[in-house]
Point group: C2
Chain length 436, copies 2
């Protein structure tokens, strides 16, 4: 099974756990059998591998997510990096060209495109396999997944099939309707559009060449920023006559808001949390290392991270976006391919962060124009390179670096350090990278 997972946006609706660089699909919120927590992308990846251990998984995403993906899934996962955001048609075209030209997938093989964040059980991925087999038959150019609707939702697009069969030709598409229209569509046998597209590789490659002037993957990648923003639905699906839909009646949830996300949580709290006995339908997700105490609340979600604290009625939590848009602060934590960092203190002319490097990983070799830095290693062992000079370091060692000085650190074991940045114009953009 060749599967492309579309990993989108920054997800302000799940602030403060999502921020400009951590999208909602990376929040570790789902308890696994071994008692740890996994994120949506980890859950989906694990489910795919369970259903098909040999599946070729490619994540189509922006470069801001690459570090988080490698951090959470390991570095063997395929990533089709979008140089900038250009909606789903260019993203799917790029990922399909990547499968053809980089992965060498046969043009006749089926490709399954699916969102990265459906909250589903394994039967969903079995259904995706069936969709792949259906596409391979060549009865249609495009096969979609139609979710059996459970209520007249206003949040989804609808697909009206020609017959109520398990597999049917698509009669028409309907945009997100109001409740009354949704009710009417459902009476006509409509299904929710699950955002899944299955096709033989050369079908989308052909469409891409029809609509975009490019030679191969590298060329498409190079001119990606010149492409128009257009959705795959609009550019391809809605114009395709040879198109089918396959019904799916299993669990399918879109966990895009705190309200829906907390419904999927196995427990009422994650992290250090206390609730008194008068709390009802309260969920707490606490990523800070101090306790949250909740008393006498009902239908409330509390979410705390280094970015901030949300306390919201669950129903109201879906209106969060404009309020989060008002909040302007630097990113306070991030997962990177080499580890993670967290801001500990912000002053006018200094910034103190904690850096955790995974064993065997290192930062880029880099320098800053406008700031000096001090590292205090607090645990682990490794090596620093400062202006070419290599040195072994361990807990308690202090490294001072003047502005302009090139530096990196390589972790032998997991290594943690406190970094104090000092200067008048401290910015994440003040960074020059070098080849070591």
């Amino acid at each position: 099974m060749n599967i492309i997972l579309l990993s989108g946006g920054s997800g302000k609706r799940l602030w403060p756990l999502s921020n400009d660089i951590r999208s909602k699909q990376f929040i570790k919120i789902f308890k696994t059998e071994d008692g740890n927590y996994e994120s949506m992308v980890q859950r989906v990846y694990r489910q795919i591998k369970k259903v098909d251990a040999d599946a070729t998984v490619t994540i189509a995403t922006s470069k801001t997510q690459v570090s988080a993906i490698y951090n959470q899934l390991g570095e063997s996962v395929g990533i089709s990096v979008e140089p900038c955001r250009r909606d789903t048609f260019p993203a799917i075209a790029l990922a399909t060209a990547y499968l053809a030209d980089v992965k060498g997938i046969d043009p006749e093989e089926p490709v399954i495109v699916c969102p990265v964040d459906p909250y589903v059980e394994n039967d969903y991925f079995e259904a995706l396999k069936a969709l792949g087999r259906q596409a391979a038959k060549g009865e249609a150019n495009l096969v979609l997944m139609g979710i059996e609707p459970t209520y007249p939702s206003e949040k989804y697009g609808y697909i009206i099939p020609e017959t109520p069969d398990q597999i049917a030709a698509v009669s028409t598409f309907k945009e997100k309707p109001n409740a009354a229209a949704a009710d009417e569509y459902i009476r006509q046998g409509a299904l929710w559009n699950g955002g899944v597209f299955v096709y033989k590789l050369n079908y989308v490659l052909g469409k891409a060449h029809e609509l975009i002037d490019f030679t191969d993957y590298q060329d498409l990648f190079a001119k990606y920023d010149t492409l128009a923003k257009i959705s795959f639905d609009y550019a391809v699906a809605e114009k395709e006559d040879r198109i089918q839909v396959m019904r799916f009646a299993g669990q399918w949830k879109d966990l895009g808001t705190w309200n829906t996300l907390t419904e999927a949580m196995g427990e009422s709290s994650v992290g250090d949390a206390i609730m008194n006995e008068t709390c009802e339908n309260v969920h707490i997700i606490n990523e800070l290392n101090v306790p949250v105490l909740a008393m006498g609340l009902r239908d409330v979600v509390i979410s705390a991270s280094p970015e901030g604290i949300l306390v919201s009625d669950k129903e109201q939590s879906s209106y969060i976006k404009p309020f989060v848009d008002q909040i302007h602060q630097q990113v306070m934590f991030a997962e990177k391919s080499w580890g993670s960092f967290r801001v500990l203190d912000v002053e006018e002319e200094s910034l103190t962060i904690k850096v955790t490097l995974n064993a065997g990983h290192s930062m880029n070799y880099h320098s800053h124009k406008n700031r000096d830095e001090v590292w205090v290693v607090i645990s682990g062992t490794g090596r620093t390179i400062v202006d070419g000079m290599e040195q072994e370091v361990k807990a308690g060692d202090v490294i001072t670096m003047q502005a302009g000085c090139r530096h990196t650190i390589l972790a032998e074991s997991e290594l943690k350090l406190v970094e104090v940045q000092l200067g008048k114009e401290i910015s994440v953009y003040d960074k020059q990278k070098y080849i070591r």
Copy 2:
């Protein structure tokens, strides 16, 4: 006016803004005319000085509060330090002996004892002055303040006067009653016991010598830990026949719970906070430097500090204590006489804190047995002394100190530093002080 302010307990009921070393009276929550925030103790001190600029103010408290008092009121305020906690009779006896022997107050002068945290207006302190004048007349040995009750509270003790006059002899005292009994007392003309005791200095000094075997203040201080715990009400007031009560009908609030405290707040939030328009009767006190966003809440208090986060229905917030008793963590921030500190990061074998030294102040000269330390100065200028070696320091300077090494830092301007502590058994008790 000689006034003794009784500054008590650790105030877990206002967690997370109060902790083991910051009592509720030090929380800066009341907006002043100049737009800053003051604490209860600052508010009361300012009000006393407004009513009587020459008032001699002595704060009777434990040594754990001395730093916070000097930090908030300056070092000119008198403090009678209780070596350990022994309830109100020993505390008042010690403070009275301090006034006689250290401050040299005339034994015939009236002394006013009052809690440090009533939420009142200036008329309350005018009333205290009137109580002082009444005590000076010598009609009674002890004059109390009786607050005109506004409802049959179960939280206060009651004083039943012999007549409804402004000043009357006390008929009897009643312990905190249930609501029905309180109703009955009020029908009999009872007043709330305001916890104020006014007397001529030599009266309480005489009582102290009757009940405790001591020579002078120094002697009493030295044997303080051998004294029995007993309240002033029980030891003195309830046994005194020559006792009067003066009525007070002005504003008087006891802000001991989040529910009552938020009622006294001038605004709905302090600190970085956003509320949407569907919030009703919500108060946010946020001492963190990241935002709190509240949506769709009603009758809720949110309070966030480096110690933790409370989200509570206001009514429920009065039942907080047993939950806070469950929380065992180190103190995450504190105000000291020389400045303040805040814990930034806790690891198994390291602790990172931020220290702010006020201009002209310094730490004690000290060493640690089990930990090394690193200082990174992030702003300001000053001087360090490390094993006797003095050195000027400024932002960007790094000082490393091995376990056993004696060290201090003196701030010329306000000076901030990041301190990384490194070792296997990091504890606040691992500290040896030296005379410089």
